[in-house]
């Protein structure tokens, strides 16, 4: 839409530059000695790694909400399912290095398990776990989506039902009897593919993988939204009936995009776990999904840059404000959400494009704006004299 008005080439250049900075330059700066003023600390890089996984989650939300008009409040479920699927591999990698010095994960030892439950056994395999992080969320999305879309559940109902699904799953994972670590979830990971997961090199590698994955997902979604499929998808958002009466089986389209976005969320979760070092059911509490939706709203829904901008900026704000003013940050966050919804329906990206448009409409571009600002300032000065 508005984006396409920008000259394509400059957009491409921007993507290439940002990707280069993010994927190549930032990790390189991390390898510099800590004394260097260009040095990016392990902490910062790791933090950005986390933000970028959340950005992947945000893209999956936007693919549904911004592009298809389906507000899913269950994306964090898929995100965490991906995380758990991969986390099971990491838990088994701990082996005898854990607190209990047993082959079984610590929490099972506490609870007196003597053998691995059957659904854990395949998770010794790295590739099985990577694939599980994709197909487990996909399967859940497929079953739920099929039922929901077939009964024409949409709009608010879809949101509330996805929320209920997440809540049920959250309660399920909180149970210690589920054998997924209960409230504590998975933590204290030691190894990934034989590498020390806490080593800065491993974390750097994970960061690079995350940033690259995000780029690929971004490009993939760009391509997707530009195909005829993407057009049908947006047509469903704008007028589902018309699409239906144009002969498209909207159920299959919605199902396809729902499953796809659940897999994207799953990938995000899979990358999140090794970088954050913990996964537990409170991350799939209903308000976490809401948060992800808010990132998209803040960044700008219906664009692909928006979710990334939103996820990174809201989380950075949170990281900053929980330290800078721990007593007030919830006020700040709440107010930001309210104000964005009320006054910036197109989010930060929308704000940026309207500024760009405004400037380009002015005579002489930016210079013209500058001139008019200065002029009005001069006038005011004159008036006060």
């Amino acid at each position: 839409m508005t984006q396409s008005k920008l000259p394509l080439s400059s957009e491409h250049i921007a993507i290439i530059v940002i990707a280069f900075l993010g994927i190549v330059v930032a990790p390189y700066l991390n390898t510099l000695p800590p004394t260097s003023w260009l040095y990016i600390s392990d902490f910062t890089l790791n933090l950005w790694g986390k933000y970028l996984t959340l950005a992947i989650l945000a893209i999956s939300v936007d693919l549904l909400w911004g592009y298809t008009g389906l507000l899913s409040l269950g994306q964090s479920l898929f995100f965490i399912l991906g995380g758990y699927a991969f986390g099971m591999y990491l838990m088994l990698q701990i082996g005898v290095l854990g607190q209990s010095k047993s082959e079984l994960p610590d929490f099972m030892v506490f609870l007196g398990y003597t053998q691995l439950p059957w659904f854990w056994r395949a998770s010794h395999s790295f590739w099985f776990s990577v694939l599980a992080a994709l197909w487990v969320p996909a399967l859940v999305a497929l079953v739920f989506g099929y039922l929901a879309f077939r009964s024409r559940i949409k709009g608010v109902y879809f949101s509330i039902l996805t929320q209920a699904l997440t809540y049920a799953a959250c309660l399920m994972f909180f149970r210690n009897d589920t054998a997924m670590g209960g409230n504590n979830g998975f933590t204290d990971f030691k190894l990934i593919l034989g590498y020390d997961i806490r080593a800065p090199e491993t974390q750097r590698a994970l960061y690079i993988i995350t940033a690259t994955t995000l780029l690929l997902i971004y490009l993939g979604c760009r391509w997707l939204t530009s195909t005829k499929f993407g057009k049908v998808q947006q047509a469903i958002r704008d007028s589902e009936n018309r699409v239906l009466f144009s002969g498209y089986s909207t159920v299959s389209y919605k199902l396809f995009i729902f499953v796809l976005s659940s897999m994207i969320a799953g990938i995000g979760g899979m990358l999140y776990v090794p970088q954050v070092g913990i996964i537990n059911p409170s991350d799939m509490a209903p308000d976490k999904s809401l948060e992800a939706v808010v990132w998209v709203a803040v960044g700008g829904r219906g664009t692909l840059v928006g979710p990334i901008v939103g996820a990174v900026s809201v989380n950075a704000l949170r990281s900053y404000s929980t330290t800078a003013f721990p007593e007030y940050w919830l006020f700040l966050q709440g107010l930001v959400f309210i104000l964005v919804v009320l006054f910036l329906p197109k989010g930060l990206v929308g704000l940026w494009t309207s500024i760009v448009e405004y400037i380009s409409k002015q005579e002489g571009g930016l210079r013209g704006v500058w001139a008019s600002v200065m002029e009005s300032l001069m006038k005011r000065k004159g008036a006060t004299k």
Partner: protein, 541 residues
């Protein structure tokens, strides 16, 4: 007649205790009651416990009971006179009365006598013995039950004597039960078998464990058979009681859901606003109760505690309605056509409100004392009904009735329905839709406040209270059918009963809840519009 009772009982007791009490018991001089109690209070250790057990001999049984009861509740105080002599006293209508002579206390007041578990146990034991003859049947019944549980053969004649005179049916039952339970400790298997049979015909809940024990003991086949058949009888009876109790729990849990969700049925169901801050409006109501309780107790003392809740109900409504009004004016009115975005904005509001509560009332939960008429329960068969739960059910019914009347029988209700059905059309015919929206939202919020007032009586009141209810509320409204108050009623009660039944059957709170959620999701596949879908063909996007 009453006097005769007392005398006979006392004689019996004397007879029983004579062996253990020795000389002391032989000198029951009249008017020694106060002296004996005073001594008991002022002594300590095993000596004190002995003295307490001897109080059974005191002349004035009523006085002994009264003072012992007070002692047990830490309502006995000690003042010290000039000669460092300790004078115990109690408060009667706020006036200090000396225990040793019944005269008003002239000394400066002192502090309460502390009691511990063992001491209270000793007091209770004496009170129970005294209680067998208490004029209040409830006290008699409690006393007999406790004594029976001790399985002491020496009490049997006591029970039997009482049984002959007893007129109250329930006390009679308990006496028979106590006798049978005590007889179970007898050495002879014949007596035990008889007792087991008796217990079976009494459906005695208290004897469950004993029946199980004898049913598992094959040494005397006849006795085992009797125990087994009695156990089956008892278990059938108990499962019947349990079923009724579960239904009652389901209905009252449903009522809690209903009260919580009713406000949402208005704001979400009728107005289409997805108000994620609904939970926080509930919290406003709950804190209103807390504030009101504070005012009342400060103004009227303990008497305030009895009535503050009556005043708190409208107060909670008004406060929540005002917050709702503010919310509507400042945020929601801009979002009537963007329901999904109202979800996000109100979620922001809910974060802000939660943190505000932490600021105003502190991050901790606050205590709320229920008025005494909401505490306690009554029992039919072995099914107990708590007063506060019954109150919740009645109150839910009342609120529903009032809401229904408001919506259907008043001009405002007409306006509300008109605006909700077609906002544009209503404004075309001259309805001031902005005002109606505002009032409707405030009304829905006020209902949330009422819910908070009740939840304050049942659970904790803190900044996070609302979060525990918000999803349940939405589910209730959706299952009922959006925009349909009757639907909300039906869905709340069904969800309540289903949850409680599943919890009872599965013996697991979480699994029950998960099952209900999954069932709801599946149910909505079959009936996407809920129990009572909104009529018409309105499928247009």
């Amino acid at each position: 007649m009453k006097l005769l009772y007392h005398n006979i009982t006392r004689l019996l007791l004397l007879f029983l205790l004579a062996g253990t009490l020795g000389l002391h018991a032989q000198t029951p001089s009249g008017g020694n009651t106060r002296q004996l109690i005073t001594e008991a209070i002022l002594s300590s250790g095993d000596e004190q416990k002995k003295k307490i057990s001897e109080l059974i001999n005191a002349d004035d049984v009523a006085l002994t009971s009264t003072i012992l009861t007070k002692w047990r509740k830490s309502e006995v105080y000690i003042a010290t006179d000039a000669g460092d002599k300790k004078v115990p006293y109690t408060l009667e209508e706020d006036k200090p009365i000396r225990i040793d002579n019944g005269q008003p206390l002239t000394l400066p007041q002192g502090s309460a006598v502390e009691t511990d578990g063992a001491l209270r146990k000793a007091i209770a034991s004496t009170l129970n013995l005294l209680g067998i003859a208490d004029p209040d049947p409830k006290v008699r019944q409690g006393a007999v039950a406790k004594l029976g549980g001790q399985q002491k053969a020496e009490y049997v004649p006591l029970f039997k004597a009482r049984l002959e005179k007893e007129t109250n049916a329930q006390v009679k039952y308990t006496l028979k039960e106590a006798i049978a339970i005590t007889e179970l400790a007898d050495a002879s298997p014949e007596i035990q078998t008889e007792a087991l049979k008796t217990l079976g015909s009494l459906y005695s809940k208290r004897s469950g464990d004993l029946l199980k024990k004898f049913a598992g003991d094959p040494s005397v086949p006849e006795r085992q058979a009797a125990a087994k058949s009695s156990l089956v009888k008892l278990e059938n009876y108990l499962s019947f009681c349990e079923t009724i109790e579960t239904m009652f729990r389901g209905v009252n849990y449903g009522s809690v859901l209903l009260i919580s969700a009713l406000g949402l049925a208005i704001t979400f169901g009728l107005m289409g606003v997805i108000n994620m801050a609904h939970g926080e409006l509930i919290v406003v109501g709950a804190y209103s109760v807390y504030v009101m309780e504070g005012w009342f107790t400060r103004a009227f003392g303990d008497a305030g505690l009895q009535w503050y809740f009556i005043a708190a109900i409208p107060f909670a409504f008004v406060n929540a309605a005002l917050v709702g009004l503010l919310l509507e004016r400042s945020v929601i009115r801009f979002l009537y056509n963007r329901p999904l975005e109202s979800l996000l904005a109100t979620w922001g509001v809910s974060l802000v409100l939660q943190q505000s509560f932490r600021y105003i009332f502190g991050p901790n939960n606050v205590p709320i004392n229920s008025p005494s008429w909401l505490i306690g329960n009554f029992t039919i068969l072995d099914i107990s009904f708590a007063y506060n739960r019954i109150f919740v059910v009645c109150f839910a019914a009342l609120i529903i009735l009032l809401t229904w009347l408001l919506l259907t029988k008043t001009p405002l209700g007409l306006l509300i329905r008109a605006v909700m059905q077609n906002r544009e059309m209503a404004s075309c015919v001259g309805v001031r839709t902005a005002q109606v929206n505002m009032l409707t939202f405030a009304f829905g919020s006020g209902l949330a406040g009422l819910a908070g007032a009740f939840l304050a009586q049942l659970g904790n009141v803190g900044p996070n209270l609302g979060q525990a209810y918000i999803i349940d509320c939405f589910m209730t409204v959706v299952v009922g059918g959006v925009g349909n108050i009757i639907g909300t009623v039906c869905s709340a009660i069904s969800i309540g009963v289903a949850t409680q039944t599943l919890e009872q059957v599965l013996q697991n709170s979480v699994l029950g809840k998960i099952t209900v959620l999954i069932t709801i999701i599946l149910f909505l596949q079959i009936r996407p519009g809920g129990l009572f879908p909104t009529k018409g063909r309105g499928l247009e996007d």
